[in-house]
Assembly symmetry: C6
Homo-oligomer: 84 residues x 6
Amino acid sequence: MNAVTHPEITLVPNNSLLTATPEEGRQLAVKMARLIVKLTQPDEEKRNQLRDVYGNDAMMLIAVGQTVATEFATIAAANNYWRK
Amino acid sequence: MNAVTHPEITLVPNNSLLTATPEEGRQLAVKMARLIVKLTQPDEEKRNQLRDVYGNDAMMLIAVGQTVATEFATIAAANNYWRK
Amino acid sequence: MNAVTHPEITLVPNNSLLTATPEEGRQLAVKMARLIVKLTQPDEEKRNQLRDVYGNDAMMLIAVGQTVATEFATIAAANNYWRK
Amino acid sequence: MNAVTHPEITLVPNNSLLTATPEEGRQLAVKMARLIVKLTQPDEEKRNQLRDVYGNDAMMLIAVGQTVATEFATIAAANNYWRK
Amino acid sequence: MNAVTHPEITLVPNNSLLTATPEEGRQLAVKMARLIVKLTQPDEEKRNQLRDVYGNDAMMLIAVGQTVATEFATIAAANNYWRK
Amino acid sequence: MNAVTHPEITLVPNNSLLTATPEEGRQLAVKMARLIVKLTQPDEEKRNQLRDVYGNDAMMLIAVGQTVATEFATIAAANNYWRK
């Protein structure tokens, strides 16, 4: 088994991809994408500065969406698309 | 289960990926992509300014298409490609 | 069910991902990618100007291909890769 | 069924994703990616100029690889990864 | 079988995609993405300089997230999404 | 069947996606990505110059990782994730 631990930052909240609903799954995708930004740039002040940058840059906003879309694809598959 | 709530913005309309038709699924993909832009940039006026930017920039228009294509892939799989 | 309607622009021709052949599926992928550009930039004259831009820009031409490749992946899966 | 025809350019050689081997599948992926460039920029002379551009630009070379990788993923799945 | 060996750099820790939990899978995705950077730029000092660059560049931070998201999609599928 | 041959450059070593281990699969993904660069820019000297460029450019290094991640996703699926 693989255990490459980064103890200080949890990358998957609740250590599970399973959510009750698509909405929670979508929020998890957003959260997991942000946690990679946090892992790559641990300095909160810098992250806030960078968020002002990408929040006001059309291309970056689009790129954020691409990352969330890919994360969500994985989470949706994990939850069998929340089909009853 | 995971519940990372962003109460103020719903990220998945009707909290479901299931749509009656591909057309509705495609529109849901567009809507979900836009909701991530809204989540990342809550200021409506700024978003409208940014829409003028990416609406007139060839590369950004293409990048919007890439995001929608990835979202749609997930929604199409969720709906088993609307096969009868 | 989800019904986020954009009545004025149809995003999925014939409201189906099913095509008789891979060639038709590929053309549908191109068409669906273009319809997102149209949805994002409804002004035809502007779109024609933008097409001159990306038609003569190597990186943009490549990016168009990435979008079509992602759309086609979905359409091919929907048609079970046109396996007999 | 969908039939969005672009009679002048065939986008899928032999109108099939099925190939005898991974090598042929990989070459088909390259060919299909190039046919979208051709569809988007029908002028051969311009395409040759653009090929000189992206052939000598590191980022564009990488981006070409991303497109081929996505096309190949679809073709490999279509051929069930050429598993015997 | 294929054996294209790069003996000096191991690209897949423990030569396995299987992890006990999503958290370990996520960390493996990060690790595998970094190992490709290491393979492409073996000079550690240069990598550290580059990490300062992308750690402070909003678009690059987003792009790192896109790579991790794609790696994680593969690892999650390999582990059947850690469904019990 | 499709046979679009580029006899001079083999794009898939050993004409197979099957590898004994994830490590070999990962190296195959790197190799296949590089072979597309070689196909697109056959001039070895130019490729070496370009490798110096992207080896020292943070965004390009990340983009290389995105291509390898997509190639690896296909190879991992082909090998059923090397599950015993």
